[in-house]
């Protein structure tokens, strides 16, 4: 009787150990999958973004996490940064931020998509894009985005 009980305990212990082992393995595999290029929503979105950037924009993005586009109607330059909100800077002739714009596609999209859609829109239909956008302050006033961010990407 005592021997049988020992077997049950040993079996149960082994089972618990295997459960922990499998759970750990699943966590590791999940982390590897999330870190792999294209394995996540953000990974896919950034990969798509890079395919649609010009060589100059891609170099800007790789070096600074942002890139510049030219508005098709006004000829103004805009800088699109890697952020979810207020991620579009209108630039003056000296390249300084003169205004901040915020617009993007509806839905909970990854940041790469939130950068690609404004690029396409500003380069092809600037007026329509800005018509729905919210405009923030430029250099003349406070920004809704921490100032340290502006200095980091500039």
């Amino acid at each position: 009787m005592r021997g049988e009980w020992s077997v049950v305990v040993a079996g149960f212990t082994t089972l618990v150990f295997l459960c922990f082992l499998l759970q750990g393995l699943a966590l590791v595999l999940g982390r590897v999958h999330r870190l792999s290029p294209g394995g996540t929503a953000e990974g896919k979105a950034f990969a798509l973004l890079k395919q649609w950037l010009s060589p100059v924009q891609l170099a800007q993005y790789e070096n600074n996490g942002c890139f510049e586009v030219t508005g098709c109607h006004s000829g103004k330059r805009y800088r699109i940064r890697r952020a979810r909100q207020m991620n579009i800077d209108e630039l003056d002739e000296a390249g300084a931020r003169s205004a901040a714009w915020c617009f993007g596609p509806e839905g909970n999209l990854p940041i790469g998509d939130l950068m690609l859609a404004p690029k396409i829109s500003l380069e092809n239909d600037e007026r329509t894009a800005l018509a729905v956008a919210n405009r923030g302050f430029g250099n003349e006033g406070p920004s809704r985005t921490p100032e340290r961010y502006w200095t980091r990407v500039s």
Partner: protein, 73 residues
């Protein structure tokens, strides 16, 4: 193979079709119309960094990206 990328929370959903396959082209055209109908914008890649917005299905387009209606953030 032509590709259609539909932006969504997973990054995008990708569809491929053979431009020489009439049935596949018809299916891609239907998808295009449905997406445009619910407010998506379609853009075709025209070269390195260049794109063009389109309102009508272009069976010769190699890559078309669809993004949901724009709104102020």
């Amino acid at each position: 193979m032509a590709k259609q990328f539909v932006m969504n929370a997973t990054g995008d959903t990708r569809y491929q079709f053979d431009p020489t396959d009439a049935a596949a082209v018809a299916k891609a055209s239907t998808r295009f119309k449905e997406l445009i109908g619910v407010g998506y914008t379609a853009a075709v890649r025209r070269g390195a960094g260049a794109s063009e917005l389109i309102r009508d299905f272009d069976p010769s387009a190699e890559e078309t990206v669809f993004f949901p209606r724009l709104r102020g953030g």
